[in-house]
């Protein structure tokens, strides 16, 4: 569903992505991990054209992401994204947050949009919060609503950019549970995260990035089951992250 | 549009001399006013963070007075009204014996007006320094004055450096109001030239060029100051 072919990106002199080549197949859950500055957040933002790239190709369901602005806008209707800082719209109520793109982008009728919104809120366990405003909700609740908001457009792929990194520990699980259920329903997911427990349980593949390159790209079993056969950098990272 | 251009006008006497004199008065007004306003503003600004309700109220009233009355009106009050209210001998000295009374009045008006604005600026800067800094200073046994001098004020100054330079530019611009009480500063001189020669573009253009130059130089000075004062940042 997503193909990266020798993708390169530079921020001025800084070579942020180096020859990234990998694929995410339909129904797969791919976890992308690595130390800060490895380029993983930048990479995921290239998939829905929020970040431009200079060289190589990214194809989503066969469509080249970099081709033009209009195709990018249409592509984004099929690819949902969840951000580290939730980015709910503070001036709109929860239900309006979920309905806005439905009405404005998909041109759905207000009633239909609200119905779908309510069903999604139920699915993430926040049915009673429809009239609340984001600033009155906890981080975990806001992120679950952000997931519902992304799902409202019926995307085929869901992108997660460090969805739990800004959450207090006790709220991480409620979000991971929603993501786990989503994966079980067969959604194609690309997740940038440090949550190795989640990766182990839910991911089909793990991609390890360091300094802009894909260092490891293998199945979850291989990644966690045979750590010695992984590269030095990957072992170092795993060592640091698993021992706390 | 019928207009005869004559830029050479600006280089001829007496007009060139007028412009330079005007510039001189503008600079004198601005710098003298600033030298008085700055310490006054810092003092009132510190008062605005006081824990004493009376000091807070008094300094608040001071700021609000200079802030809610137009600068031009303040100029007239100081020039026409205050000398009348002074004790007889002081008033007489002010009106008769003081050289350049218009200049000094202008300086005082600018100084007090700007001190009000600087006070609010310093208050904001002092309050922007994280409370933990003051607590850390207290914990090592420093008294309030020491904490202010060594820890809080240096940080506050860095925070308000951009608006501070902007206030200096303001005082330069506000010096033009002194023309209403008879100080022949830059703007007044340019109007004078326009009155005499009808060459407004050249006259006002010259004044505009000077003010823009001052603004540009101030920008550069601010960037330079910020760089010199900048605290090393973790990469």
């Amino acid at each position: 569903m997503i193909e990266f072919k020798r993708v390169n990106k530079c921020y001025g002199a800084h070579h942020v992505l180096r020859n990234i080549t990998m694929t995410v197949a339909r129904g797969e859950v791919v976890v992308v991990c690595g130390p800060s500055g490895s380029g993983k957040s930048t990479l995921i933002k290239c998939v829905n054209a929020l970040e431009p790239y200079q060289d190589g190709h990214i194809l989503v369901d066969g469509i080249d992401v970099g081709s033009n602005a209009r195709s990018a806008t249409r592509l984004r209707q099929r690819v949902g994204m969840v951000f580290q800082n939730f980015e709910l719209y503070p001036h709109l109520s929860v239900i309006d947050n979920i309905c806005l793109a439905q009405r404005v982008v998909l041109k759905r009728q207000a009633e239909e949009a609200r119905e779908r919104a309510r069903r999604l809120l139920d699915r993430v366990g926040l049915k009673d919060k429809e009239s609340a405003y984001p600033m009155n909700l906890s981080g975990g609740q806001q992120q679950r609503i952000a997931i519902a908001r992304a799902l409202a457009l019926d995307p085929e792929i869901m992108l997660f950019d460090e969805p739990t990194s800004a959450l207090d520990p006790e709220m991480i699980n409620e979000v991971l549970d929603v993501m786990t259920a989503l994966a079980a329903d067969g959604m194609t997911m690309m997740v940038v995260t440090h949550e190795m427990g989640f990766a182990r349980r839910v991911a089909s593949r793990v991609v390890f990035m360091d300094m802009g390159e894909v260092v490891e790209d293998c199945s979850t079993d291989e990644f966690f089951g045979q750590p010695q056969s992984r590269s030095d950098r990957a072992q170092l990272f795993l060592g640091k992250i698993l021992s706390h | 549009m019928n207009y005869q251009w004559n830029w050479g006008l600006l280089l001829k006497e007496p007009y060139a001399g007028w412009l330079l004199t005007g510039l001189g008065w503008t600079v004198a007004l601005s710098i003298t006013g600033w030298l008085i306003a700055l310490p006054l503003g810092i003092a009132i600004g510190i008062a605005r963070t006081s824990s004493s309700r009376w000091i807070l109220r008094l300094s608040g009233f001071y700021v609000s007075m200079f802030r809610n009355i137009p600068l031009l009106l303040q100029m007239f009050v100081w020039f026409f009204v205050v000398p009348e209210l002074l004790p007889a001998r002081l008033g007489l000295w002010f009106k008769r014996d003081l050289p350049n009374p218009e200049f000094w009045t202008g300086v005082l008006v600018l100084a007090f007006y700007t001190s009000g604005r600087l006070a609010e600026l310093f208050r904001a800067g002092l309050q922007a320094v994280p409370r933990g800094q003051r607590m850390a200073a207290d914990a090592t046994g420093m008294n309030r004055a020491q904490a202010l001098r060594y820890i809080v004020m240096p940080q506050a100054l860095r925070i308000i450096l951009p608006p501070l330079t902007s206030e200096f530019l303001s005082i330069v611009k506000n010096s033009s109001l002194a023309l209403t009480i008879g100080v022949l500063e830059l703007t007044a001189q340019s109007r004078q030239i326009e009155n005499f020669t009808f060459h407004g573009f050249e006259a006002f253009g010259a004044a505009t060029a000077f003010y823009v130059l001052v603004a540009l130089v101030l920008n550069l000075v601010m960037v330079r100051l910020q760089r010199t004062l900048a605290l090393p940042v973790a990469v």
Partner: protein, 216 residues
């Protein structure tokens, strides 16, 4: 002996002056807002050159004194129109263009104050830039900007006193006229101070209240 009856005798003259000050403020606010918005749009939708032009405009208007601006337009407007115009016309042009520079900066700061992530989130759900601006960015920017706009309007109200230099009869000029005519400087100026003080104090308090309502 202070003679405050002076004020009563000249009440209607002073009141007309106050009306002129307020009208000039209103014109400056509305016109300035229009010019500021136009400048902001130029910034948003043109490339580097457009931005530099707007930057230059804003820089110059913010670098020179308002009195100089008033003199400029008092001199320039009749020249451009080819016929004499009154102080009122040239003053309104001067104030509109002057305020426009300040309002455009307020708009720019307001738009910048909205978190970058909000734009990303809106775009990520397939909205066009225009839709993102309209539904997500602008509503948030306006709530931030309105108190600052109003404060700028209060500053403008005080600045209208500068039309003294072109003998337009605003409140301050009217005050100076009756002060000199009747020789009663102290009473006249004290009264003017009181009026300005009360109006600006009340207006500022109103803005503070508005700010508190917005922070719901």
């Amino acid at each position: 002996m202070p003679d405050y009856a002076l004020i009563v005798r000249n009440a209607s003259f002073l009141f007309d002056g106050l009306l002129l000050s307020l009208t000039l403020t209103l014109v400056g606010v509305i016109g300035g807002f229009a010019v500021g918005t136009a400048l902001a749009l130029v910034r948003l939708f043109t490339g580097i050159i457009g931005n530099y032009v707007v930057d230059a405009y804003v820089f110059v208007f913010r670098a020179i004194p308002l009195i100089l601006v008033i003199f400029w337009f008092y001199f320039m407007v009749p020249l451009i129109l080819g016929r004499p115009v009154g102080a009122w016309t040239s003053a309104t042009v001067a104030f509109t263009l002057f305020e426009g520079a300040y309002y455009s900066e307020i708009l720019r700061a307001g738009l910048k104050s909205v978190r970058a992530g909000q734009l990303n989130a809106a775009l990520a759900s397939g909205m066009s830039r225009a839709q993102a601006l309209r539904y997500v960015i602008l509503p948030q920017a306006f709530t931030a900007m309105i108190p600052i706009f109003l404060t700028q309007a209060i500053i403008l109200f005080q600045d209208t006193s500068l039309v003294f230099v072109v003998s337009l009869h605003d409140f301050l000029t009217a005050t100076t006229i009756i002060a000199n005519r009747d020789g009663r400087l102290i009473e006249a100026y004290t009264f003017a101070c009181l009026v300005y003080y009360l109006i600006c104090l009340a207006a500022t308090a109103g803005v503070e209240k508005l700010k508190r309502t917005f922070a719901r």
